[in-house]
């Protein structure tokens, strides 16, 4: 089978599974909210992977943008205007602006240094959310708001009452975001990012403004992570500082690695495995942290290429 045809089949399979997920999720022991969580965290991991896998820059602080999106959405509905689309757009804007500012400060760093600075900056927003009690609700989280029905003119989507309807709204946003990222990766801009990943010095010698490209990639990545954050907050009708904390950042990275950083859909698969596993383990034992930690160690030691990386290798061998 030639490569593009194989790609089409893969895409068709992924979309078929995603479109039907609420209908078979219950049969395999899941529930609709879990399906939504897979798609949302999958989007976050794919957004991170735009930077990690396709630009080759390691950010260990993406929870900051995810959490900012979550808070922006919640605050929009709670304090300003109760509209779900507006909440999502606000989250996108806030995430983009934050990524622009932080990105500009750190763009000259590379490798370990970059990772370290992203970790540290990730915590700023955590402390703000944690400390600014009367606006963010502090440690207890932002409560007292709900996702609002979406008025399409001819019909109203009752996303609050019906889990499945919300799932398809999530999936629609996911499709738009993922579509934009796929188009970007296929564009000359995206090819340039991959060139930077493969050999930054060479790209620089070719006259490519490397720092500016990485900055744009950082902003795209942070913005879509923020969109995922808005969807996550809307799913729970709640958000708290844990959405912004460093362990959440680590979760996104492990999802990307687990699924396979070099493939487009990899992080979604990683997110599915991670979300289901976390759901299962944390319902069975209080010591779920140890299991998740162990899982991190095992993935690094034995599956550094991720699920799709292994499949691909077998395919070519």
């Amino acid at each position: 089978m030639n490569a593009t045809l194989k790609e089409h089949w893969q895409n068709a399979l992924v979309w078929a599974l995603l479109l039907t997920m609420p209908y078979w999720m219950n049969a395999v022991g899941g529930y609709t909210e879990l399906a939504s969580r897979v798609v949302i965290l999958g989007l976050a991991a794919m957004a991170l992977n735009f930077l990690l896998g396709f630009t080759g820059v390691l950010s260990f602080g993406h929870a900051a943008y995810f959490g900012l999106g979550a808070y922006a959405a919640g605050m929009m509905i709670k304090y300003v205007y109760p509209s779900t689309p507006l909440a999502i757009l606000t989250g996108l804007a806030v995430g983009a602006v934050a990524a622009m500012i932080v990105g500009a400060l750190i763009i000259k760093r590379r490798g370990v240094y970059f990772a370290m600075v992203t970790i540290a900056f990730g915590q700023v927003f955590y402390f703000i959310a944690f400390r600014w009690n009367n606006v963010t609700g502090g440690d207890d989280g932002l409560t007292g708001w709900k996702r609002q029905a979406i008025d399409l003119g001819f019909t109203k989507l009752q996303i609050l009452e019906h889990d499945k309807v919300y799932y398809y709204v999530v999936l629609a946003v996911f499709a738009a975001a993922v579509g934009i990222m796929a188009a970007l990766i296929r564009s000359p801009f995206g090819r340039t990012l991959i060139a930077i990943r493969e050999n930054e010095r060479r790209a620089r010698f070719l006259g490519i403004p490397v720092d500016r490209h990485i900055w744009i990639s950082f902003v795209v990545s942070g913005s879509f992570a923020a969109v995922a954050g808005t969807l996550y907050a809307l799913l729970q009708n709640f958000t708290d500082p844990r959405a912004l904390r460093w362990d959440q950042s680590g979760n996104f990275v492990i999802m990307a690695v687990l699924g396979g950083m070099r493939s487009f859909w990899g992080p979604l698969i990683g997110a599915a495995i991670f979300v289901v596993l976390q759901d299962y383990v944390s319902s069975r034992t209080e010591n779920w942290m140890s299991f998740i930690g162990m899982f991190f160690v095992l993935v690094v030691l034995f599956f550094p290429r991720g699920v799709l990386g292994i499949l691909k290798r077998k395919g070519t061998a």
Binding site: V117, Q123, R131, W246, V253, S290, G293, M294, V297, P304
Partner: protein
């Protein structure tokens, strides 16, 4: 007011010295092995809890000496088993591995010692203020300063004067050449890791006496150490020390005027440093980009 500011400057210096102690361990490991040890906070907690367990048997002073050594010994085992496999690979993997390790260590302390805050009793004469005018000057705080100064002094002396120390510094600059000159780099890195973990353990014992014992003690204290390293400049140990003290004093003083920004001020400092002097205060350009 003067007394209040003085109190908080002094307090900040203590906290800063303490951040520096932790950050120096992180820096040592990062410089020689290129690994950001996310589990550093976990080792700190282990040190604190081991001291708690030892105390009834060997007393406070015995625990202060033994607990960091035991923690360091754990580092001696962890490095060859787990960390060594990460050398030469993308920093992504060492980050994820130590990240998982941090989870495991935090959960293990919770499992063994329970989730509640445990009291950590230091000798009574250390907790009484030295004079009523300087009510904040307890013996314990002075002890912390003394221990940190002595340890940092010893560390820098070891790095300057002893053969191992000189090799560690040389390896930080050019590990390949050091290896080619016949130094066993594997052993050197293991030893260096253990020294870093020893410092984490010591920081843990000192923190326990001030903050009490909680399984999350490590994860709350690790972020400031990252900031300290970035402010001071990656690759520079004096820089890390300076960074730790600076952010400690800055957050101490901020507590007086704007208590809710106590943590934020560290990050503002970090942002300023990255903006004005991206390599960090004492960092050298080009190292560990």
């Amino acid at each position: 007011m003067t007394q209040l500011i003085l109190f908080n400057v002094f307090n900040g210096l203590i906290i800063g010295a303490f951040y520096a102690l932790m950050a120096l361990g992180l820096s040592l490991i990062l410089n020689l092995s290129g690994v950001i040890n996310f589990a550093h906070g976990g080792f700190l907690a282990i040190g604190a809890y081991v001291a708690y367990t030892l105390m009834p048997h060997v007393g406070f002073w015995g625990a202060l000496i033994l607990a960091p050594l035991i923690t360091g010994a754990i580092g001696l085992v962890v490095e060859p088993v787990l960390i060594r496999r990460m050398y030469g690979r993308d920093p992504l993997y060492s980050l994820l591995l130590t990240f998982g390790l941090a989870f495991i260590l935090e959960d293990a302390t919770r499992y063994v010692w329970g989730p509640e805050t445990l009291p950590f009793s230091v000798p009574a004469w250390l907790t009484t203020p030295l004079s009523s005018e300087f009510f904040f000057l307890t013996g314990y705080r002075l002890l912390m300063v003394f221990v940190v100064v002595a340890t940092v002094g010893a560390l820098f002396a070891i790095l300057r004067k002893t053969r191992v120390g000189i090799r560690i510094r040389a390896g930080t600059n050019d590990l390949e050449t050091v290896s080619a000159l016949g130094v066993n780099v594997r052993v050197l890195r293991t030893l260096n890791f253990a020294i870093g973990i020893y410092l984490a353990g010591l920081a843990g014992v000192l923190a326990a006496g001030m903050l009490g014992l909680q399984p999350t003690i490590g994860s709350t204290l690790i972020m400031p150490s990252f900031v300290a390293i970035i402010v001071g400049g990656l690759g520079s140990l004096p820089g890390t020390l300076l960074g730790g003290l600076l952010i400690g004093v800055a957050s101490g003083v901020t507590t007086v005027f704007f208590p809710s920004a106590t943590e934020a001020v560290m990050y503002i400092m970090m942002g300023l440093v990255l903006l004005i002097r991206p390599r960090g205060l004492l960092g050298e350009e080009g190292r560990l980009q």
